[in-house]
Amino acid sequence: MATQAEVQSVSFAGSEKVQQAATRAFEVMRAHGMFMSDYVPIRVRQDELVTFLTSKGDVSAADVEQAIAENPAVFAVETDESGATVVVTTRTGRVPVAEAVLTDHTFKSRLMTPEPKPAVPVAPVRERVRVDPSWATFTVPEFGDEEEDEELEEAGELGIAEALEGVATGTIAAAPKTAAPVEITPEPVAVVPEVVAEPEVVAEPETVEEPVAGVAEVEAAEVEAAPAPEPVAEVAPAANVTDVSGFEDAAIADAIRERLAGEAHVARFGEQWMSEDRVPRLSRGDLRRIKDYIDEQEQPLADATLVQDILGVRPNQPDFALMQFAVNVRLGREHREFEFVGTNDQRFWSTTNLPQIGTGRRKPNDIGTDYRFLVDDAEEGITPRSVASVDRVVTFYEYSLGLLPYDADMQRLLPAPLDPEQRNAVLTFEIPQSYTTYLVELRYPTPNRGGFLLGLDDFYADNLVPGAIISISATENDGHYKVEFLSTDSQSARLLELDDRRSPRYLFRPTTYNCAVADEWLISEDRFPNLGSEKPLADKVRRRNDALLKATFERVGLPDGNGGYLASIEDLLAAANIERPFTERHLRETIEQDANVTGDDANGYTYVATA
């Protein structure tokens, strides 16, 4: 919208000629500042103004100068930096007024300066709640008994009857001012310095005892100077120090475990300890999310994974180790939902909903029963993690179920359970030759079942054949192991397999393999042609040593023409291990105890049924 500014009329003083000159001068100056705002000073040099006006010829220079001088309300005269005289006016026809800059309340100060904190009004004194005096008044019963009268008489004799009477009839008064003040004499307090022990003490033992002495001196001095000693909160005598220098670390550790295990205020997980009140707690929501996450992943997860993914604590944060410990301690107390299946270095947690690791061909309890002889023949004094590697030959039974026995050799290689109640542990077996890692479940022995490892089905099927030689090596991590096998040139043979698609049945299939094998454990068609199309033995047959021996003779033995079967000890051992684990020692014992078997290692053994 365009608007036209009003031109205010300006009146000038002086004679008519002077007014005319002033009008002309003002018009020229206003034209000079036509784009200026109304109150901005318009400055024109006086000599230039006079020259311009006189050049028109209608006014004289004297008139102009007089007009400027006689109208101080319109024109002001200044001297600029160069010393020239300057006429100043504004478009409103008034002398410009010096603009006063207000700095006491600016937008900048409003933004940058916060408002002062409102003064808190003085809180009124709370009226003390008092019991109504009528409730504090009691009267002497109107009908007193004789005993009370006697007491009053005795009190009168002692001179306190009047006081009692006054109390009985009046309100309870304050204690008389004349009463002697009670002097409270503080009992002498045996102040013993508190043991100051920071966690750094472990690394820098020199700082342990020195502060103790200093604290002791300071506290003792304060107690002596103060007229009323304060009660000592903590009394931690440090006088009796057990000399542990003559004991081995293991003995000291056992003593610590024995004593600290009974302390309710100490949280423990594995070989880690902490004060219970310093362990962070997990909410029910945290526990539920952890359980859901493990179920979603369908495999046990390590504590570090749970801390990162569920609790959002990164490994580079200072409280990462603390949160790991908290997860282990808290989940360890949720027996209904969580189960610890890890090792000291690799702490896996599982839930009750997770599927079993490993084969489904046979129940774990049945496998444990097959390995019961490991419990019966258990060696004493086996030290876990005492060997670096173990070499093994994979039998047909182990191959078909994807397992390894937890025998004496494996017990020396693998870790013991972290907790006596732990039933199984999940380990990771890395196969460097195929760049794969498998989760393997170690089932610890029970009183009537042997231990074994499950979960190697895929590794066996992809890389090995029954009779293959493998080497299992320990790493620094007690939950992680490396498995290697000897690679060879490609070999082909018709090897035994268990076909359990419909009815379980053994059959020979042409197989190509690239691993080294122990020939005495290789189950090939050339060696055992009669095994093809055989069915697996029933449980009641295969679990009895004599029945299994008889069946094995019939399967792999050569007919001797007299109704008997001839077989070598190597053949019997390899074939018996198709059905169940059978050690050479047990096989020899069974042969010796069986009256139907005759012979020796040199000439082979002959089975002739006598019944």
């Binding site: 043991v195 100051v196 022990a197 920071e198 966690p199 003490v201 472990v202 033992p205 342990v208 005892e209 931690a236 005598p237 440090a238 006088a239 009796n240 120090v241 057990t242 000399d243 542990v244 220098s245 003559g246 004991f247 670390d249 003995a251 000291i252 550790a253 056992d254 003593a255 610590i256 475990r257 004593r259 600290l260 302390e263 205020h265 100490v266 997980f269 070989e271 880690q272 300890w273 902490m274 004060s275 009140d277 310093r278 200072p318 409280d319 180790a321 603390l322 410990f325």
Partner: protein, 44 residues
Amino acid sequence: MATQTGILQLQDDDIAFLLTLLRNATSPLSTEQLVDALKQRSSR
């Protein structure tokens, strides 16, 4: 206090010392660390 059988019996003062250590720790302590602390304390 050492016994003839070689079994170490820790006294209440030792346990109080260990509990103080655990109370002041900001992260869990291992058994080895506690053993070292006891050994260094007794050597003083």
